[in-house]
Symmetry: C2
Subunit: 350 residues, 2 copies
DNA sequence: GTGAAAGCGCTAACAA
DNA sequence: TTGTTAGCGCTTTCAC
């Protein structure tokens, strides 16, 4: 294999000093156009490419950002949500010529250790957390280290204003969606949430409660279920809910993929959607429109979440001393065909 | 912010030479347990973490592998296939303490340029290509550079044996699936393939042709359609196919996600699956079992594809001079409920 | 506008 | 078993 060509080789070939070559790479204005051309010529001729690690070492900056995903041991990760956020992140990162480094840990401990390595080993300049957990160890660590990071989702605790994040107004979205169902005449509305450790689940819950409260409808514990697993979760939830003496006529589901499970189980039980049960869920991932019937869901603009998170992070890296920022990505309810007025149905009480 | 603690600081604190500390990090057997302990103590005390870039520079190895995805501009990337391969890759990578670096390019040109940077800039030790395209520029480049890389899918051309890859026997899978449909009595079998630039599509096609040929059934061009887009693609394909004077009674679909589109459109046309049309597709991504009815599909063991690709790559990096290897991941048809015997010509019974 | 030289933090010969 | 020292390839003062 041919030897690597370094800055020195180029310098020799162009008859200049290594430092000059370095300046040409950085396109320093203090170098004359003439020598720039000569040097560039030599670089081309020799097939020179700057060594990334050498630059990073001298520079103390890597031009790469770390992406930390929730523990991929469970199936959470299979959610098309992730490719889509990453697509958003990628897009911004590519614009500013930053690279992406991915966490590989499968358990919480592994991830934590990995993040420490990224940070202390100076492997990345900043980190994006693709999730927000209640009292998350990784987030706390990053915060204490004052390492640049942004979160997709909102921090649960009081440091809200000291942490840079991008989020949807999940509380509001959930509230609206509940109100919508209420307007359609539903009174027995179930809530199928994700893992309660995630802040988004908490927010969804609160929105749901508030809407029911405002409408003067009593909260039924039986109508509220949480499930971690996306596929089985949805299915189990349906079994539980439909076994109740007064089964719900509408369901709010935390995640589109879960909705597939919900609809699947419902159809197995020969319940029709939306005739027997109305459903609204969240996210609007690509395949959401491909359910039969296509699902009504809240588009949270996943791509934008990723893009903006990256944008904020880049800012933070360049200007570490400006305060933390928070960005809210607007959501939008996409009405498709899993919701319907409750008219004929006599099964409702009160 | 506190100064970074380096190997020298540790050396001083432990009263040894920097090189000794370095050897302790590498856990060299030539260092006595006693000094190892002392040094480790000092490391802990000072909160030492090795600088990744410095190591890489001195080492000429980065312990990270690059993942190159197809251009994420189009929706291909949203396929849950990708999180799942990456999960497989992650898993192996984490075992051997390798990091993952992700391509961010959106177009073919951008990706090509990026790969060059990764390779020439020594940013990664090896690369995994998550797709195999006919006559792919990136693959050709890597091949010429003799840079360690593995492909998920098979190279199209004659260099088959000189390139390390992991693949399914897509030809065979497609042939089997076609034969199965034939056995169920179907004669009008359509094929809905992906982008013909991808080798997998070619292989699927060939398997389908071969099975029909063996059965003495003439190939109808009208029954063969290709679509790039997963969602719209499936739907458009159905429109075309069902408009034929003799519409197919069975369909082989390149991808589970596409099948969702296919089923969606079919249900819109009030065609029932499997009563009116049987469907088999490929991949068995997580949500495949959540279609209504759950789809029959070929499980290609996506996770294993990723895991094995990473495994091969690590091997290649450590032993660049052993020849190229090829690994075939077995597939398995998962019979669910979208296939059925064709009994009466008129969709009947039940 | 350009060059010389001192690092960035670590590894690996070569010595001892 | 451990220390000395010369790099790895680049950036960046400080001179000129």
């Amino acid at each position: 294999m041919r030897m690597t060509v370094t800055i020195k080789d180029v310098a020799k070939a162009a008859n200049v000093a290594p430092s000059t070559v370095s300046r040409v790479i950085a396109n320093s204005p203090r170098i004359s156009e003439r020598t720039k051309e000569i040097v560039r010529g030599a670089m081309k001729e020799l097939g020179y490419h700057p060594n990334f690690n050498a630059r990073s070492l001298a520079n103390k900056s890597t031009n790469t950002i770390g992406i930390v995903m929730p523990n991929s041991a469970n199936k959470t990760f299979q959610n098309p949500f992730f490719p889509e956020v990453i697509r958003g992140i990628s897009s911004k990162a590519h614009q500013v010529e930053y690279g992406l480094y991915l966490s590989t840990g499968q358990s919480e401990d592994e991830i934590f250790e990995e993040v420490q390595h990224m940070v202390q080993g100076k492997r990345v300049d900043g980190i994006i957390l693709l999730y927000s957990r209640v009292d998350d160890r990784v987030m706390n660590y990053l915060y204490e280290q004052k390492f640049p990071f942004t979160v997709i989702g909102r921090p649960y605790d009081v440091r809200k204003r000291e942490i840079t994040y991008v989020n949807n107004d999940n509380y509001k979205a959930s509230k609206t969606v509940t109100e919508y169902l209420l307007l359609l005449g539903h009174k027995n509305i179930a809530f199928i949430g994700g893992n309660l450790d995630f802040v988004v689940t908490v927010d969804h819950m609160e929105g749901y409660r508030k809407a029911l409260y405002n409408a003067g409808i009593e909260l039924k514990d039986d109508y509220i279920v949480f499930h971690e697993e996306l596929q089985e979760g949805g299915q189990e939830a349906v079994i539980d809910l439909m076994s109740l003496s007064e089964p719900p006529t509408a369901m709010i589901v935390a995640d589109d993929i879960m909705t597939f499970g919900v609809m699947r189980m419902l159809s197995e039980m020969e319940m029709r959607v939306p005739d027997d049960v109305s459903i609204i869920s969240f996210n609007n991932v690509m395949i959401s429109e491909l359910s039969s019937p296509p699902m009504t869901t809240v588009d949270i603009h996943i791509y934008n979440l990723g893009y903006e998170a990256c944008n904020l992070l880049i800012d933070l890296i360049h200007h570490p001393d400006t305060g933390a920022k928070q960005v809210l990505i607007p959501h939008k309810m996409i009405k498709r065909q899993t919701t319907q007025k409750i008219i004929g149905k006599i099964s409702s009480s009160q």
